[in-house]
């Protein structure tokens, strides 16, 4: 690669005097609620998704408390069923799906592109309001009695048998879907149309590639969820037979339609995590990601193949042996691009300058946990094993390794990595490292025993269980306690750092990328003048040379 200098990049001295930036540009509640600034919208999302994360986390913790003993002695069965349902719905629809795209994507993506904002700032604000309307439906459901269908809303239970708030919940999920669609649309147009001069496709940070793939999946898959949920609501409200066999419908059809969205939705949740990891690996090894193009195209490969594997959720649900074989085969193929990413991140560390700062600790945790989550996906994709472990705690453990060990580890890495950019303040490093350690230990203690208890035979969504499963469940609950502490700590010290944290310069990590070429926090218009990009992505040697010359650290 021919590296070029970045002398002409507009690095700006960190300033000690009060400087105008997006936070102090305007004051007042309305200046936030009616803002069209992508950075302020990101902050709105940050508060909203954090609130939902806390709610979903409380549900999870209550479940783990109930599961300390084999008897269902803490809650009634109906309450327990509502707890796992609401945990799933809140965490998936209101936290995992919006978290990284709507918080970090909104904040960082336009800056990475050297743009002043997203292509459609008003749509961006609308997406937050749509999200909040969906969220209010969720909160109303929680307050008025909950819902007990499981987050999957399987028919005919959801349409005919549950007498909880199914309609309001599905309506909330339906509405929230439009918020994702608006965000995805905005990202796609922005990435196509608003890149800075010189920022060619293969100079884009891998974050952008991954967000692009995510947006494509959002745009193509979410409408299917909307259709499915509308059909479900029609059947429930009007007794039109679509999924209920008693009315002439087909319950397995529902599962096909649901998973046609919800399997790609897994990639809507993990691709942004991979996006963050690619950025952090580069920043904390000060090295170009090994196999840049392979990592970039593997995101697109995942997005494409992710649409072809939905029925691997249904191997025992009533499909032909040959359909099962086809979906099993395709499932094996979708594992390849993920493996490519893991190997490339790992080998990027070869002869690198590896920092042990908090975001990198989360990255190391991510790679380790995502690997376990990925290989256990192979167990589930292998038909003979899946028949046994399907709908057991093995599955629960597997997708938590991907969603929590993957996406949330990446989210935590990203929050710490961009915190100085977002707030202009450094978080306390040692507290950060402690939280990363607690999350890693707590997570493994929580979820690894669930692989074992699942294979032994504990079905998921069980309020009471056989006594021989207790030891592993107690371990799991103990782990959940450590994990909760690991998530509480950052909420405290990050809040503390807003006032007491050390001031961060424009580029506290010595990382390369347009977001580090503007001040922290960035000015309202991101760049005082449009940057011109003359370097490849992650060109650290050239960057550090330039940094030394300009004394810009």
């Amino acid at each position: 690669m021919t590296s070029t200098t970045i002398d002409d990049a507009p690095y700006i001295e960190p300033s000690t005097r009060e400087r105008r930036h997006y936070i102090n540009d305007e004051y007042g509640v309305l200046s936030w609620l009616l803002t069209k600034d992508h950075k302020r919208i990101a902050i709105l999302y940050l508060f909203s998704v954090t609130a939902f994360f806390i709610v979903g986390g409380i549900f999870a913790f209550l479940m783990r408390l109930e599961l300390l003993t084999p008897e269902g002695d803490m809650f009634t069965s109906d309450t327990y069923n509502k707890l796992f349902t609401l945990h799933g719905i809140v965490m998936i629809f209101f936290f995992l799906i919006p978290a990284i795209p709507a918080v970090m994507g909104n904040f960082i993506l336009p800056i990475m592109l050297g743009a002043k904002d997203l292509a459609f700032p008003k749509l961006n604000l609308l997406s937050w309001y749509v999200y909040m309307v969906g969220g209010i439906f969720g909160i109303v459901v929680i307050i008025t009695g909950g819902v007990d269908t499981g987050w999957t809303f399987y028919t005919p239970f959801s349409t005919q048998y549950s007498n909880t708030k199914v309609f309001a919940t599905t309506l909330g999920a339906f509405i929230t879907g439009f918020s994702s669609i608006l965000t995805g649309l905005n990202f796609l147009v922005t990435i196509h149309r608003m890149r800075a001069p010189g920022l060619t496709w293969f100079r884009l940070p891998l974050f952008v590639w991954s967000m692009y793939a995510t947006s494509v999946v959002i745009m193509l898959a979410t409408p299917v969820l909307a259709i499915t949920l509308v059909l479900l609501m029609i059947e429930r409200a009007l007794q039109v037979g679509i999924f209920d066999p008693a009315l002439g419908g087909d319950p397995v059809l529902y599962q096909h339609m649901f998973w046609f969205y919800s399997h790609p939705a897994v990639y809507i949740m993990i691709l942004p995590g991979m996006a963050v990891i690619s950025e952090c690996v580069a920043a904390f090894t000060r090295k170009k990601i090994f196999g840049y193009k392979f990592v970039a195209f593997s995101s697109l490969g995942i997005a494409f193949l992710g649409f072809l594997v939905w029925a691997h959720h249904m191997f025992v649900a009533g499909m032909s042996v040959y359909s099962a074989m086809i979906f099993s085969f395709l499932t094996m193929l979708v594992a390849v691009p993920s493996a490519i990413k893991v190997f490339n991140w790992t080998s990027t560390m070869y002869k690198a300058s590896v920092s042990w700062q908090t975001p990198m600790l989360y990255v190391l945790g991510f790679i380790g946990l995502f690997t376990i989550g990925g290989v256990t996906g192979l167990f589930l994709g292998a038909l003979g094993v899946d028949v046994h472990v399907h709908d057991s705690y093995f599955v629960v453990a597997h997708f938590h390794y991907i969603m929590v060990g993957g996406t949330i580890m990446a989210y935590m890495a990203g929050i710490h990595y961009w915190w100085p950019k977002i707030t202009g303040r450094m978080y306390p490093e040692w507290w950060g490292r402690l939280s990363a350690l607690l999350v890693f230990v707590g997570f493994n203690l929580t979820f690894f025993p669930q692989f074992l208890v699942g294979y032994v035979g504990m079905p998921r969504r069980y309020h009471a269980y056989a006594p021989e499963f207790q030891v592993l469940n107690v371990l799991s609950t103990a782990g959940a306690t450590v994990l909760a502490l690991g998530y509480l700590l950052p909420m405290i010290y990050l809040g503390w750092s807003l006032k007491f944290g050390r001031k961060a310069g424009a580029n506290p990590w010595g990382a390369v990328g347009l977001e580090w070429a503007t001040t922290s926090p960035p000015p309202k218009e991101n760049f005082h003048e449009t940057p011109v990009v003359t370097w490849e992505a992650y060109d650290y040697p050239a960057f550090l040379k330039a940094m030394k010359e300009t004394q810009n650290v």
């Binding site: 109906d78 048998y161 074989m325 094996m332 002869k351 590896v354 094993v385 399907h390």
Partner: protein, 392 residues
């Protein structure tokens, strides 16, 4: 069994295959994962940032690696697929000499019926060393019948027959779980499969029933007046059912179907869906009149009537004992703690529905499930949007 098992007993013919594949995957993926972690930590320590190492040394691993870790994992993954599919085929292909058992799932119990007429709730008696084929359907929502010690599982769907099979290799008492979330007392929809020596099983079968399932079906065939049209004579208003099961049928619209379980089920519940060639669509629907248990009996009858005389021949019924209620309780020691099987189907869905509160405290050896605590509040009645109550 210890109180802390990490591995369920292997009690069926497919269990060693599943476990073999599972352990192979554990070793393979464990080794690869361990390798990745070791490399990561080796790099993270060896190349940690130091004052003389502020900047990466610009050296990249050789590019051949990229192709290696695309091609090699792909081959391994396809190998895993083939192994998994091979085991799956073994699980799906039902052996010819399988014993027929019928299962019905409903909120929140498992009902089993034997061809010889025995009916059980949340307990299933089977002989060791003989394949058992279960034909099953649900009365309400989707359930999933899981025998963890046999490593087999299949979803049980409303209004559709599915089959699964296993061959037990060990006598004893093994868990039955519902694996698909089905409502309030999902975790109480559990039971035990009692695997018995063949001789004991024969003794158990002799214990009593209301006559074979097919003969019960024959009575229903008259009760529902099926025999007024399906008279098995030429010129009858309905097709001759003798010898029909398993054959290919021509329909009036030119299609042809195999007369399997689901075809017979549909022809009873929704007779207008497929009209046999040469007949008028005059049959009324029996939707809502024939319950799942009776459907199974009718099915068992239709399966067994042969072309000659229309008499059930396949299974012979043990002498119908005066005590016709449920499974004999005294044939094996293990069954003493079995839930009392009752043919009296609960008429409501309230918390105390028979069958889910297993007497786990009285079991020895194998830990029993503790009774699910009854909900503090009365469980909600099914939603008013359903007429399902009427069918019970």
């Amino acid at each position: 069994m210890t109180d802390f098992p990490l591995f369920p007993e292997q009690a069926s013919t497919v269990a060693p295959l599943v476990d073999g594949l599972y352990l192979f995957l554990v070793v393979l993926t464990g080794a690869v994962s361990l390798l990745i972690w070791l490399v990561i930590f080796y790099f993270a320590i060896k190349y940690r940032r130091r004052p003389d190492n502020e900047l990466a040394q610009e050296q990249e691993p050789p590019a051949i690696l990229e192709m290696t870790w695309i091609v090699v994992p792909t081959i391994i993954f396809i190998g895993i697929f083939i192994a998994g599919a091979w085991v799956f085929f073994r699980m799906q292909r039902v052996p010819a000499n399988a014993l027929e058992v019928y299962a019905t799932g409903r909120q929140w119990m498992w009902k089993f019926q034997h061809p010889t007429g025995q009916r059980e709730i949340n307990t299933l008696h089977v002989p060791v060393g003989r394949p058992v084929k279960i034909t099953m359907a649900s009365e309400d929502v989707i359930h999933s019948l899981w025998f963890p010690y046999f490593r087999v599982k299949a979803d049980v769907l409303p209004n559709r027959y599915r089959t699964m099979w296993f061959e037990a290799t060990k006598t004893g008492r093994f868990h039955i779980f519902c694996a698909e979330y089905c409502g309030s007392i999902h975790s109480g929809m559990i039971g035990w499969v009692e695997v018995m020596e063949p001789t004991e099983y024969q003794r158990w079968l002799a214990g009593g029933s209301e006559g074979s399932l097919a003969s019960q079906g024959e009575k229903l065939f008259e009760k529902y007046a099926c025999n007024t049209c399906h008279t098995n004579t030429s010129g009858a208003r309905g097709p001759n059912l003798a010898g029909l099961y398993g054959t290919t049928r021509q329909l009036t619209d030119g299609r042809s179907v195999v007369a399997d379980d689901n075809y017979i089920r549909e022809s009873i519940l929704n007779p207008q869906a497929k009209i046999a060639a040469g007949f008028q669509p005059i049959m009324p629907t029996f939707q809502g009149q024939v319950n799942e248990d009776d459907l199974i009996r009718l099915l068992a009858y239709v399966r067994t009537i042969n072309a000659d005389n229309g008499v059930a021949t396949a299974v012979e019924s043990p002498a119908s004992a005066a005590e016709s209620r449920g499974a004999p309780q005294t044939t094996t020691g293990a069954t003493t703690a079995a839930p009392v099987a009752t043919t009296t189907a609960p008429t409501t869905t309230t918390g105390g529905a028979a069958g889910f509160s297993l007497p786990g405290t009285t079991t020895t050896g194998v830990g029993g499930l503790k009774p699910t605590a009854p909900p503090a509040t009365a469980p909600q009645a099914p939603p008013t949007t359903t007429t399902r109550q009427d069918q019970r």
